[in-house]
Amino acid sequence: MQDEPDIADDVEALQAKVATAREEVGKRIVGQKDVLEQLFVCILADGNALLESNPGLGKTTMVRTVAEVTDLSFSRVQNTPDLMPSDITGTEIIRETEDSREFVFEKGPIFANVVLADEINRATPKTQAALLEAMQERQVTAGGETYDLPEPFFVLATQNPIDQGGTYALPEAQTDRFMLKLVVDYPGGDEERDIVDLYTSGSRTVPVERVLTTAEIQEVQDLVREIPIAEDLRDRAIELVRATRENEAIEFGASPRASMALVVASKARAFLHGRNHVSEDDIEALAAPVLRHRIILDFRAERDGQTPDDVIETLLE
């Protein structure tokens, strides 16, 4: 390996940088370690995340901080019922020059590396579809022209589980496009005290360092996909997803896209933990975030008070 760059040193350096980035985000986000880990998993696996929580739990701060510790461009879309697709993707405008007029495409907020789509369920289905189509295709078409979105590209959408009046729930076909659904829960008592102390004394903002470049993130994304997985563990992930289609408590199970998401997310978690192989722990830890928004419970299970996480827990047993 004298002619090649030292793989071990490269990978270890990248793993160290990712770990540092997590620590930097942790300076602003107290607790929520699992959510933060899953958010990084989503970024390293080149996926999109749907964050669900009640208001005031730091979803926006978390996503914004992730963008800050990297040199990724960041934009935020506050979804409302009157938001039009072109408000997100961009639109063609007429620009006058000295001798003529020409149509020029004005890029919308979706042309950023990290797009925070706040309260996505408040946008109309038409706008949601435009956003999610761009998210899936990684490109936008306007006026007969196709524009590629920047690489890497993440959509981190948030939705509020309460106050459902005037909202448009995302169809299953569209939620399936999110690799993970992260549920941000209320912090514990000690954590809440730390949050209060952190944001009510001294500086108004907590400074963070930029530690990851765009190129490094893309390098990590490539490495994540190269991580080997044992055949029995791969089969375990697939069987878990297939089991959602046969379980009595589930009316509609997850698609093969879920199997792919579970495997690649497990690889990303393995990388985050400094491993060169996928462990069964990775699959079990990510089963709920990967599957919870991809299954629809049977009405009897809902009547019994079961949640998707409960059913996934039984599948893991």
Binding site: A8, A230, E231, D232, N276, H277
Partner: protein, 337 residues
């Protein structure tokens, strides 16, 4: 690798490729994959060795146990000796320069060999039914999951950066691992004790010639039987009547009346016969009947019985020769005296 090591060096088997004292080799992707493939092959060899070791010990126990059981029970259907097939004795005889066509092995040993072979095959199959790499992982927790991942990556011919990193990581961990735990030493020790015990038991049985189910010889004593049938003398009472047994005494009392013809007087009172005073030998009139205990002579007193019978016969002959006496009303015999 450990190919040049003696077979019994299992306790410190290094399946990791280059030894720890070797300088860190400069490897390319192909090198690390090749080393990983070699290490996995070595792990599989160690797994087979462990399975075969256990199989041999268990087969030895099965052989000794089966041999012992057959020798003790000596089943009738088991031939005493089994001829060795000519396909075996022929080449073997040619090799040693002797005629082995009449060679035969004991039936018990043949049965034991069959049982031992079946046991060996079963035990080896049982040990290798689970993938050997995963068995190795289970006794080396540091390699858990990563070894089988490396195995699958090698089989998939993976040569990515992360795969190479995994190979190097696993090879480094293999230097600290051992295949010794694949063999259950405690069980092996216990089996060795059983082997010693069964060997001693086999020797003991061979010395005592113990045969629990051995049938007694069916040779009949014809002369003795004929003598017994022709014998007309006194027989052993126990032989004739069978074993003695306790009987309960009767509880029913009955009154009997016997009309007397000799006295010429009426019977006016109940009397019990025989009257105690008349049964004595000194009654003079001799009208009483003495009760005597009947018994048979024991076989060892046959000569005495013969003598008594002979005397009785002589007395009877003398009585007949001396004149026949009448019988009085009391039934007494009036002899010549």
């Amino acid at each position: 690798m450990t190919d040049d090591r003696p077979e019994d060096s299992e306790s410190d088997t290094d399946v990791s490729g280059p030894s720890r004292s070797d300088p860190a080799p400069t490897t390319t992707g192909d090198d690390s994959r090749e080393q990983m493939a070699d290490a996995i092959a070595e792990i599989r060899r160690e797994g087979w060795k462990a399975a075969i070791t256990t199989g041999i010990v268990d087969a030895a126990v099965a052989f000794l146990l089966a041999n012992l059981v057959v020798v003790i029970l000596e089943p009738g259907w088991m031939p005493a000796r089994v001829a060795v097939p000519a396909s075996v004795t022929g080449p073997l005889g040619d090799a040693v320069g002797a005629d082995l066509s009449a060679a035969a092995v004991p039936g018990s040993a043949t049965a034991a060999v069959v049982v031992a072979a079946a046991t060996f095959a079963t035990v080896v199959w049982w040990h290798v039914r689970k993938p050997l790499v995963e068995q190795f992982e289970s006794v080396n927790p540091a390699l858990s999951e990563k070894l089988r991942t490396a195995r699958d990556a090698v089989e998939a011919d993976a040569d990515s950066r992360m795969a190479r990193r995994l190979y190097e990581d696993v090879l480094a961990d293999l230097r600290e691992s051992s295949a010794f735990a694949l063999v259950n030493v405690g069980r092996l020790g216990a089996m060795t004790i059983v082997i010693v015990a069964l060997s001693l038991a086999t020797l003991q049985v061979a010395v005592l010639d113990l045969a629990l189910l051995e049938q007694p010889n069916a040779t009949t004593d014809v002369d003795g039987e004929e003598r017994r049938q022709n014998y007309t003398g006194l027989l052993d009472g126990e032989e004739v009547l069978g074993d003695r047994e306790e009987v309960s005494a009767g509880e029913e009392n009955k009154t009997a009346e016997i009309e007397s013809t000799g006295g010429g007087r009426d019977v006016d009172e109940d009397r019990t016969f025989p009257e105690r005073e008349q049964t004595g030998g000194s009654s003079g009139g001799g009208s009483g009947v003495d009760s005597q205990q009947a018994e048979f002579a024991a076989p060892d007193q046959v000569e005495d019985a013969e003598l008594v019978r002979e005397y009785n016969q002589q007395i009877r002959d003398q009585d007949q020769a001396g004149g026949t006496g009448g019988t009085d009303g009391d039934g007494d015999s009036n002899g010549g005296n």
